[in-house]
């Protein structure tokens, strides 16, 4: 039995469907992420789970029971808001103790648990400070502590790392993973940052225009995106216009613009002559120097147009034809060598057959 089940939920604002017939199951103990561009409906969906908004149609089930008519304070979920939403008139201890106070716990128990929690998040000496006297990172720790102290069955997180600078964000990502593992609480995490989603989540639901495009583990979504939107939204990918020439039991044979005949893994519900794109990730492309004296027929050939050296890796931009480029990402694993190719070099381009995908239009 799933902890949370969302069944055919739709929410409209006027004529605009913010969430459009979404169904999802979230299991106990999962770190589940709703990922998508702004306006894709992820925050609206989170607000409906929290109870701030009610769906127009559909059901939200907790332990198989519909909770749509249950007000937010009666749901065993807490939320960490993007702005943290700390109470400005309460001290750190007052903020963290608030859920316990609302739950009717005795003042001794509240004091005890708040003291323990403050020690856990290393904020003991800030107990009597007000939120405006804390740094961004400290405020966030208070928000997490406040969300977790009353042991909710589900913690909802609305882009909680959005307001932090990049270095701090990386540290917090690691802390979040540990926090979730230690607390054993199910997380539903909303973000538009795909790298954050990949790094943190057990499973990701990629959303676009109110609909769910794909739900799966990070690695599956990255390696086997189901459509062009997911492929393009998660990570970097080269997209080249292509048309299906033939279909066999295991392969599609494509005619790819400027690259010619290419075989990719079979894909369901694709017909001969369908148009679309061939997609391949930059790091899955291997490039080798072209020997001008050797026989080069049948090889995929390009010319190095430009490169971006980022330290750990170098991105080569390879020109296939006028205005048609693909990117290849090569690790700089040899010390002292900034790049392996010069601008203008002719190179051969290769990849494993199952690394490329076809997405019909």
């Amino acid at each position: 039995m799933s902890l949370i089940e969302i069944r055919n939920v739709t929410k409209r604002f006027g004529r605009f469907a913010a969430v459009d017939d979404v169904s999802l199951k979230i299991e106990t103990g999962e770190f589940f992420t709703l990922l998508g561009p702004s306006g894709c409906g992820k925050t609206t969906l989170l607000r409906m789970i929290a109870g701030f908004d009610a769906p127009d149609t559909g059901q939200i089930l907790l332990d198989n029971e519909d909770i749509i008519s249950v007000p937010p304070e009666k749901r065993p979920f807490h939320t960490v808001f993007q702005s943290y939403a700390l109470f400005p008139h309460m001290t750190v201890a007052g903020n963290i103790g608030f859920p316990l106070k609302m739950a009717g716990k005795s003042s001794e128990e509240i004091e005890q648990r708040v003291t323990r929690t403050l020690a856990e998040v290393e904020l003991s000496q800030f107990s009597d400070r007000y939120p405006h006297e804390l740094s961004g990172g400290q405020r966030q720790r208070v928000a997490f502590a406040r969300g977790l102290i009353n042991e909710p069955r589900l913690l909802l997180l609305d882009e909680p790392l959005g307001a932090l600078d990049e270095k701090l964000r990386e540290n917090m990502q690691r802390e979040l993973i540990n926090l979730q593992a230690d607390a054993g609480v199910t997380f539903i995490y909303v973000t538009h940052a795909q790298n954050e989603a990949l790094a943190l989540s057990h499973r990701i639901a990629v959303m676009n225009r109110g609909r769910i495009e794909q739900v799966d583990t990070s690695a599956t979504i990255y390696n086997f995106p189901v459509n062009r939107f997911v492929a393009d939204f998660i990570g970097k990918i080269n997209l080249l216009d292509a048309q299906v020439m033939a279909i066999s039991t295991q392969h599609l044979t494509l005619n790819v613009n400027h690259l010619g005949k290419i075989r990719v893994p079979l894909k369901a519900s694709v017909n001969v002559n369908d148009k679309g794109v061939m997609a391949i990730r930059p790091e899955q492309i291997n490039i080798t120097a072209l020997d001008p004296n050797a026989q080069n027929d049948g090889k995929r050939v390009g010319r190095i147009r430009d490169f971006l050296y980022i330290g750990d890796v170098t991105t080569y931009i390879i020109e296939l034809a006028d205005q048609v480029h693909i990117e290849a990402l090569l690790a700089n694993s040899v010390p002292g060598q900034a790049q392996r190719f010069e601008i203008g070099d002719q190179v051969a381009i290769n990849w494993q057959e199952n690394a490329a995908h076809f997405f019909p239009d």
Partner: protein
Amino acid sequence: MRRSSPLLRLIAMLVYAFLYIPLCIVVVFSFNDSKLNAEWVGFTLYWYQTLWNDHEMLLAVRNSLFIACCASLSATILGTMAGLAIHRYRLKVLPILAFTPLAMPEILLGVSLLLFYLQVLNLTLGLISIILAHTTFCIGFVAIIVRARLQGMDESIFEAARDLGATPWQAFYHVTLPLIKPAIIAGALMSFTLSIDDFVITFFTKGIGEPILPIQIYTMIKVAVTPEINAISTLLMLLTLTLITLANRFGSSMLRDPSH
């Protein structure tokens, strides 16, 4: 700091002089040992003593304080509710309805309230009608102040309270109310000040009988300007200044820092 030009400083001094010299004269002559407001003769507290024995005047003070307390209390409650509603439900029409009386000429408000009480409500004019009238024009002030306070705040704070287990009433009591408290206090003090020295609307809605402070002062001046008027004016000034200073302190602290 930049130094202002001498001319501008002179103009500023003149403005302050025109504003405050008359007030100072009233205060000074309330202690003058002479029946005439013409020249300084000597210091006395005689006029304050006279005031203390003037039963009509004391009744007027009592009535005015009573009216101001009742009107500011009800205006604060209703105005706070209006401010909350306007903010929460993003109302479009109510704010216009609540705020227009603030800009309306007082005489218009006075006349219309008088006709309404007499012809529609069949009310006998007296303390009740004055309290009603004062409440009416004070609500807008309170609503404006409360709404301004709410507008500066992060909306998710109120959702967070519910989310963390507070019922709507608990959320109001533990989060909303403490956060808008400075605005409520400022609004109440403002209402009190507006009520206690209101002349025009009071004049139209008071009927005959009960003496009301501003009207009583006006009536006395019609007969003769005695230093007793200076004395009561000085006391009224003191009260108003105190309240305005308090209202300002709450008002500015709430703008400076949302935590207090």
